[in-house]
Amino acid sequence: MLLELTEEQKLIQDTAKDFAKAELEPVAAQLDQGSDRGPLLANLKKLAELGFMGLNVREEYGGAEAGAISFSVAMTEIARACASTAVTVSVNNMAAEVIQAVGSEEQKRAYIPKICSGEFSAASFALTETCAGSDPAGMLTQAVDDGDSWVLNGSKIFITSASYAGVFVVWAVTDKAAPKGKGISCFLVEAGTPGLVIGKEEHKMGQHASATNEVIFADCRIPKSAMMGKLNDGFRIAVSELAGGRIGIGSLGLGVGLAAMDYATRYATERTQFGQKISSFQAIQWMVADAYTELEAARLLLMNAAFRKDQGKSFAKEASMAKLYATEAANRACYQAIQMLGGYGYTQDFPVERYARDARITSIYEGTSEIQRVVISREILKNFAQ
């Protein structure tokens, strides 16, 4: 057993680290505070040109063919500097991967190269609705067969990157009479399609630079060829093809948690109280030991899930375990980092409060911690069933 990155994986990690430090970190605080997305979009373009939008995509579609482990380590390095940039990169990669996995050859050629090259700043998943979050099969958005086209009606919420996405992966009900989850199909809808309306942007706790919008379909007419995968197979795509995204978000959480602890630990070695560095107090030492132990465990879980994916083995359970553990560990690390900085940690003069706000969503989006536990226990229990 070899717990060592390959030379290529190390080079990708180094490239992500160098880029993040030089280009992302200097603008992260400003992006968190401001409304100008210019620097975010410019950095997304540069990341695309370096190959970070199609890490696990085949070369013929403009991808890097670098695999899931490379994806994980790259996400962690990007998230150490800017979680908003990282989530966009993760979602773009997953959109490209899903189209590669279930799209037609024509769809692959039409959209994947544009995601990988940065011609599209982003791609979006439009799955969640107001009444269909953890339970997406309860969605109401409909696609009606109208001769040579489909007509979409309904609305989606919490759509990442909607205001600058070039293409949307959209789920809609195509058979209302079918049993739950058996009458949903998946579609690719291009930005600018009449009837596709980008609604209000959410005011979030963190990850401010990443846009999160309502998306409305009002008699949105798309060609028959816009369906992705088989009719009424959309729910399966949503629950099975997106497991890789959990590796992405777990890795993102890890990056934010490491950034917070690295900052707080350095601070603890400089800050003096009671005549000594606070790192000489056992209370602080235990915080450091616990947080780094948990983050290391998270990293190993992520590497295991990514390794299994690269090997072509089942990885849904492992990805959920890694996502659950890494994002919760990241939240604990961020709150502990604030504690280590004391009152300063609560101010915006130090980055740890931003890390804590950015980390909070990671145990919610891409499947809540509770849903990850559902997936994990289901996978385990089925091996015990009589």
Partner: protein, 258 residues
């Protein structure tokens, strides 16, 4: 045109160094290694020249060291070099600049290079001798500490950084060796597809014993951390008094006010 770029892999300079058992080098086991910063400028300049000349030149990247240096070679290949040469040496730190230069020269003699790029020095040992020694041994023209590079009609126009920030211009005919300084260019990031494709490029593996013909002329006697300096002086009192004290110290113990 045939171009050679010599790169060294060095520890991340933010690492904590401690002397190893021999007392002449540092413990390497837990260090992260990267391409020497100055060598990145050398790779970038070589690749820019290749692009300027319509991709005609073949660029070979050479590194001496244990297996880990393949990572530095692959980075250079991903940045645009065409082939690699790994001179296999488990302990290059035991060799002095003269031996390292002679190894590179032995390799280069059979290859017919027109132009050799190196960093102006390594970040770890920092002798700044290897480039000039290679030039001397091969009988090539040489210019060091480049902060500007232009090539036209067989002539290099090299902008050199001299002491005190003064710049000098040197013109060299090929064949030549140039050593590269901070400010020459901004090295590109290797793209991910190019990192993956670098796997398919040729890397020659040559045992160092095949190329090493020279004895060392200098040896490292001891590697040790500098002695801890005493604590600084803390001045106390009212502002007027502080200024007096500071002025007195600067005048008596430094050359600042002379």
């Amino acid at each position: 045109m045939k171009i050679l770029v010599c790169v060294k892999q060095v520890p991340d300079m933010e690492s904590r160094f401690k002397p190893d058992g021999s007392g002449t080098w540092f413990e390497e086991a837990d260090l992260a290694f990267r391409m020497n910063e100055y060598d990145e400028y050398a790779v970038e300049q070589a690749v820019q020249l290749k692009e300027q000349l319509g991709n005609e030149p073949e660029v070979t990247v050479l590194s001496i060291g244990p297996d880990r240096v393949n990572e530095a070679i692959k980075k250079a290949l991903a940045m645009g070099c065409d082939r690699g040469a790994h001179i296999q040496d488990p302990a290059p730190q035991g060799k002095d600049p003269w031996q390292i230069a002679s190894i590179i020269t032995q390799f280069a003699q059979g290859e017919g290079f027109d132009l050799i790029f190196t960093g102006m020095q390594s970040q770890d040992r920092g002798s700044a001798q290897v480039g000039v020694l290679v030039a001397e041994l091969l009988g090539f023209a040489c210019a060091t500490t480049l902060v500007g590079f232009a090539y036209a009609d067989g002539v290099i126009t090299a902008k050199r950084e001299l002491e005190g920030g003064i710049k000098g211009i040197a013109k060299l005919r090929l064949p030549a060796v140039v050593t590269c300084q901070l400010g020459l260019n901004i090295p590109r990031y290797p793209t991910l597809p190019n990192i993956m494709k670098a796997k398919k490029k040729e890397i020659l593996a040559i045992p160092v014993a095949d190329l090493l013909k020279e004895e060392a002329v200098a040896s490292t006697a001891r590697f040790y951390p500098p002695a801890r300096k005493g604590g600084g002086i803390v001045l106390e009192g009212d502002v007027g008094n502080l200024v007096e004290q500071l002025y007195g110290i600067l005048k008596e113990k430094t050359t600042v006010l002379r």
